[in-house]
Symmetry: C2
Subunit: 328 residues, 2 copies
């Protein structure tokens, strides 16, 4: 009998720390632990909590499976970029206030386990590719839509990092050169139209005309409480304004994805993050927009799908990237 | 003493057939032959003339070098896409009126030499990467600007074709979602603004205000004779309208290239085709636009250069792609 071995995956986000254990065959996330990031905490503080969460997940996995600590091969870390993967540094993480922080080695120091570090959007893409919606793809574009819009690229079956490790910034492609100012300084970036906060802003703008909408009711009359999630849920009730905001969102994302199809000719585009829950209200018009804009051979070659791993995509991908660097 | 061996490169375009011989070490194009494509000719007619040109180039190379026919390993073909590389077919070539034409095998039949077929823009990119302006790059984006705008992608030192061989259609990325209609059916494609004919159209539009411009003089008073080349040459004289058209062109191309930088994070972007002759009038504002729009780590990692092989880039790359499939 072959004994299973395990890897811990960590997805460090601006708001949440997600830690889980997986057997190396990728069959399941066995134990999943979630806690707030607490951005006011120091880098060392956050890292200590990550290490504690890792120990907790290991202990629970041992209880669950009868494994021993020696069966845990290491830790795959996903973190917001830019990163220095080789040195295991988080170069800058604006939401966390980190600079040149040696996350990988700190985790090894605290847990005694080898660790790897990669970009969070890369990890989410690899996760969906390994065991999720993009499984079997050879050329995969992952688009992660949340507070920002990130991306991951798999070319010819291999995660692509680019020349200075910053490839995949799909949210910062211009879809309207004279359009909305983006936080990155550029104008008309996809992120400025279709990130979670941008969707909420557009919904608030749409309500300014005074047309009645369930959106306002769902937000308890407080415009500032409208989120992308509110908009998606409200659109499902048939609300006109919410539906129009979702359709516009689909057109913006569709324009960005059509560009990616014409340039990369991928076989899978997977949308991960909260957007995956928007369902056909979003994916229907999104696919139509892509079809309208991209070349037929590129459209025919590609399926555009919602991620199936939800909030676990990042940690699953972190496990996979660990394994690709530490083959059993 | 090692005897040199030779490969013939062919670049089949809508207007020109370019055929040349190179030693396998890539040191030079020894003999270069150019003739018009004559689109009114049949596919077999064009192919016969290509084969005759190949024989002529082989004969002249033998005279020049003292090689024998046995020293010629084969023929690399570059042709407009879409192609079926595996079967050696030109699937559709609108400018030539070809459909599912077995170009590769016809050439082998007529010359007795093994042949390979790849996309013309891929070949131009590979040519500049092998011995031209993109030499030494690991992740290279080639942009070919002429009648249309094409592209080639080299990732991690390998030419990337995508999932159905249509990757690299950089000219058909949207830079303005509600902008000019493109021949491809989409709106606001880069090609609709910055291809040779699109530059000429914008120059004619700019003249409609009636402001005096040397452009009109250079075109002999006939607006329809204005080409992108006229515009570039006229801008060099300081003409206000021509200069403004070139600066706008730089902004359009810069917007497209900034997107590529944020997504691919290449170390080289090489612009091939007539645009290479536009010089700093174009490249200055183009680099500025990229710097304004793309992320600093992506800008810092990348040089944006004009191709150095001119009209020979395609045939040089065709030789290189032949060699990559038939190593000596």
């Amino acid at each position: 009998m072959t004994t299973l071995r395990y890897v811990i995956g960590v997805d460090l986000g601006g708001t949440k720390i997600s830690v889980g254990s997986m057997p190396t065959d990728g069959s399941a996330v066995l134990v999943h632990h979630l806690e707030p990031t607490l951005a006011e905490d120091s880098a060392d503080g956050v890292t200590s909590r990550i290490a504690a969460a890792i120990e907790k997940v290991i202990a629970q996995t041992i209880t669950l499976t009868g494994a021993t600590r020696a069966d845990f091969l290491g830790v795959g870390l996903g973190a917001p970029g830019p990163l220095d993967r080789e040195k295991g540094l988080v170069i800058v993480a604006p939401n966390l206030g980190w600079q040149n922080y040696p996350l990988r080695d700190k985790i090894t120091e605290l847990t005694g386990l080898p660790a790897t570090l990669d970009n969070d959007a890369n990890c989410a893409t690899v996760g969906e590719w390994w065991i999720g919606a993009a499984k079997g793809g050879r050329n995969v574009v992952g688009v992660t839509i949340g507070t920002g819009i990130g991306g991951g690229l798999i070319f010819d079956g291999k995660l692509y990092h680019g020349s200075s490790d910053v490839a995949g910034e799909i949210g910062h492609t211009t879809i309207d050169p004279t359009g909305r100012r983006c936080k990155c300084g550029n104008y008309g970036c996809l992120e400025a139209y279709a990130s979670g906060p941008a969707i909420a802003v557009r919904a608030r703008e749409a309500l300014e005309g005074g047309e009645p909408s369930a959106l306002l009711v769902m937000a308890g009359g407080d415009l500032s409480r409208i989120t992308a999630q509110t908009v998606y849920e409200c659109a499902k009730t048939g609300d006109r304004i919410a539906s129009e905001v979702v359709r516009e969102t689909a057109r913006f994302i569709g324009t960005g994805i059509a560009n990616l199809l014409n340039v990369f000719n991928p076989d899978v585009v997977v949308l991960a993050g909260g957007v995956a829950q928007a369902g056909e209200d979003l994916f229907g018009p999104l696919r139509a927009e892509v079809k309208r804009r991209a070349f037929k051979p590129a459209v025919d070659a590609c399926r555009i799908v919602a991620g199936t791993l939800g909030g676990q995509a990042g940690l699953v991908g972190a496990v996979s990237t660990f394994l690709s660097q530490h083959p059993e």
